[in-house]
């Protein structure tokens, strides 16, 4: 019932545009992708301004400089070839942050980062299962009550402890986060998952295993 209620009132509370047209970054854009571009250009000495996520004149100049130096069309727009030359992937999303009472924009991206850090090499269904475990913990009374608090509970996830959560998530991880938030739960309600070849805690081994996907056992 509560699941239905949550799904009903907060069916999908993020407004992210994944329109196919916006696969470029140009003057006037803002956001994380601009930060990535600025950081890279700064690293290589093309950009001397501040890394502030705002694509203005100095960023434009830096992109043109980079494009000239690399034999690309110097139009100041970071399209697919410029992005490839920089070694970054543009997801094509212009962020529209929408305030919501349920799963916010930030929580989707945080969950995606966690999935990316924890289940990068896993089959897609394994990624969604990791996301679903986080959401199941939110619903459980023995765990913290928000996605952020569950993910950042000290020691709960290796990806947080070793910093892998700070990597930029790929498309599959983002899609997996959204699918998990939309109700797809390949784990069938599990609260725990672990890698059987590395887990040493006898307590976690004592949990009832529901299924195994890729490198992980999922348990309840």
């Amino acid at each position: 019932m509560r699941v239905a209620l949550v799904l009903f009132t907060v069916l999908v509370c993020v407004g992210m545009q994944w329109s196919q047209a916006a696969l470029t970054l140009a003057w006037g854009d803002r956001g994380d992708e601009v930060i990535t571009v600025q950081r890279k250009l700064k690293q290589w000495g093309y950009y001397t301004g501040t890394v502030d996520g705002i694509f203005g004149k100095s960023t434009y100049d830096a992109v043109v400089y980079f494009q000239k130096k690399n034999g690309l069309k110097a139009d100041g727009v970071v399209g697919s070839s410029t992005a490839a030359a920089m070694g970054i992937q543009l997801s094509g999303a212009k962020q529209v942050t929408v305030s919501a009472s349920g799963y916010s924009d930030n929580e989707v991206r945080l969950l995606a980062r966690l999935i990316h850090g924890e289940a990068r090499g896993e089959p897609y269904i394994g990624k969604v299962a990791v996301g679903a475990v986080v959401l199941n913990r939110v619903r459980s009374s023995s765990f913290p009550n928000t996605i952020t608090a569950v993910i950042y509970q000290p020691g709960a996830f290796d990806a947080v402890s070793d910093g892998q959560i700070n990597l930029t998530p790929d498309n599959d991880s983002l899609r997996a986060a959204r699918d998990a938030m939309n109700g797809w739960d390949p784990s069938g309600g599990c609260l725990y998952y672990y890698n059987p070849s590395t887990a040493t805690s006898s307590w976690i081994w004592s949990r009832s295993i529901r299924l195994s996907i890729g490198k992980h056992n999922f348990a309840v």
Binding site: M1, V3, A4, L5, L7, F8, T9, L11, V12, C13, V14, G15, M16, Q17, W18, S19, Q20, A93, V96, V98, S99, A100, S101, G102, Y124, I125, R139, S141, S142, F143, P144, N145, A149, Y152, Q153, P154, G155, N171, D172, R175, R178, D179, N182, G183, W184, D185, P186, S187, G188, G189, Y194, A199, T200, S201, W203, I204, R210, L211, S212, I213
Partner: protein, 453 residues
């Protein structure tokens, strides 16, 4: 003779130089090492400070909770009771938030997290009861008394190790890996907050998400249906997806949950589709495509139409689309079942449609299978016009309909009023029996989805 002497001198000088170099390197390393040690010490100090703050907040708020529970049990006034309950709920949330920041093993902290979660939840439910004119019942009083007794025991134990907590020693000894087994000489704080602290937490029965009395009933849509076999599951999956689309099929990963399923893996033109078919009744629980990243082309409306046709041809009956979202070349559209002109929001199905070809690549119907049944709807006690009076006059209403919505405690028949205010669209739900305003949703239209908040 002199040449030998010269060579020996050279050797000695080289040796001397080498020793001096090594000495300098050792001293340099020592200085660097010390600097590192100091830096680590500073960082650890900062980290411990934040964790210590969280720990001390837990202790002080748990004490506040005990005080308020005591007051609540001797209060007879409605206003005072309600205020105390609201404060209890807030403080329980605070304790929970701070507990979640402590670097303690899951087993060492989960017992107390559960306790405060239930306490806060329960306090909230009781507060709502009082607002609606239902004072504390005898069962409520006795449940509150047992919670008070637990809280007091917890506080007593915390008091016992107060010196260790304040000095930071308790935290130091507690830091272990999350899933690690307890060490033989575990820190006393672990024993207090963990599930083996000797405190018998009562099982609380009330109306709320963390209640122990809340049980998820059996899946209504599968009632009375017979079990199927793995082979039948594969055949059903192929049939559901469409035999003309399936190139290869085989068993997938089975899942056990509230609705146990057989997994089927199908290779289609849209890549591999993972299908889960319920063991009871052979209904599809969900389908997920292994890959996406499809192109665009179709409007969401076209995708919704394709999804609608798919659902009605697969035995879902008349379903109405309401919300949608697009990501990675897939349109995810949410449908609700309809009974006559009453929309049944608890019976939800989500469909994933490829935005380039319109092919159905995903479906999620857990809510539908859990909740769908033909309902005997009681006639509304108030008319549409009476309900409209309960809606705020600021809203310019443009449509009304009857619907069933899920609530924390079950389902309610409501009038749904859709209207605009200040350039935003809202849905207001008025209980059809009591005229109460149960819920308000704000519709958010973006290029990436029509969503609610």
């Amino acid at each position: 003779m002199e040449k030998q002497q010269g060579r020996a001198n050279l050797w000695r000088n080289v040796l001397r130089g080498g020793v001096l170099l090594l000495l300098a390197a050792a001293v340099g390393l020592g200085i660097w090492g010390n600097q590192q040690r100091l830096a680590v010490q500073t960082l650890r100090g900062k980290l411990v400070a934040t964790q210590q703050r969280a720990m001390l907040e837990v202790v002080s708020k748990l004490y506040d909770i005990e005080v308020r529970l005591n007051k609540l049990l001797v209060s007879s006034g409605v206003l005072q009771g309600e205020q105390l309950l609201t404060e209890l709920k807030r403080q329980a949330e605070d304790v929970q938030t701070n507990l979640a920041q402590l670097p303690m093993r899951h087993q060492a902290v989960s017992g107390t997290i559960k306790f405060v979660n239930q306490l806060g939840d329960y306090a909230g439910a009781l507060s709502q009861n009082i607002t609606q004119g239902r004072p504390l019942s005898d069962q409520d009083i006795s449940q509150l008394e047992s919670m008070l007794s637990n809280c007091a025991q917890l506080n007593l134990q915390l008091q016992g190790i107060e010196a260790d907590i304040v000095s930071g020693k308790a935290l130091e000894e507690a830091g272990q890996l999350f899933w690690q087994d307890p060490l033989p000489n575990a820190s006393p704080i672990e024993r207090v907050a963990g599930s083996d602290n000797g405190i018998d937490y009562p099982s609380l029965v009330y109306d709320g998400p963390f209640s122990d009395g809340r049980h998820q009933g059996p899946p209504l849509a599968l009632a009375g249906l017979a079990d199927i076999s793995q082979e039948q599951a594969i055949a059903l999956a192929i049939d559901f997806v469409g035999p003309e689309r399936v190139q290869r099929s085989g068993p997938g990963i089975n899942t056990e949950g509230v609705i146990p399923t057989y997994g089927v893996s199908l290779l289609t033109d849209d890549g591999t589709l993972n299908v889960q078919v319920s063991r009871q009744g052979g209904k599809v629980l969900w389908i997920m495509p292994e890959m996406a990243g499809f192109g665009g082309g179709l409007e969401v409306g076209d995708c919704a139409l394709k999804a609608y046709e798919f659902l009605s041809s697969r035995g879902y009956g008349h379903m109405e689309p309401n919300y949608w979202q697009t990501y990675d070349g897939v349109a995810v559209i949410n449908f609700a079942a309809a009974q006559g002109d009453v929309l049944l929001y608890p019976d939800l199905v989500k469909v994933q449609v490829r935005q380039d070809t319109g092919a159905i690549v995903g479906i999620e119907s857990n809510n539908y299978l859990m909740n769908h049944q033909v309902r005997t709807l009681t006639r509304p006690a108030i008319t549409k016009e009476q309900a409209a009076d309960m809606v705020s006059s600021r809203l310019t209403v443009d449509r009304t309909r009857l619907c069933v919505i899920p609530t924390e405690t079950g389902e309610r028949l409501c009038y749904e009023f859709g209207g605009t205010w200040s350039e935003r669209y809202y849905l207001v739900y008025i209980d059809a029996q009591t005229g109460e305003e149960i819920n308000i949703l704000q519709i958010i239209d973006t290029e990436g989805g029509r969503l609610t908040a």
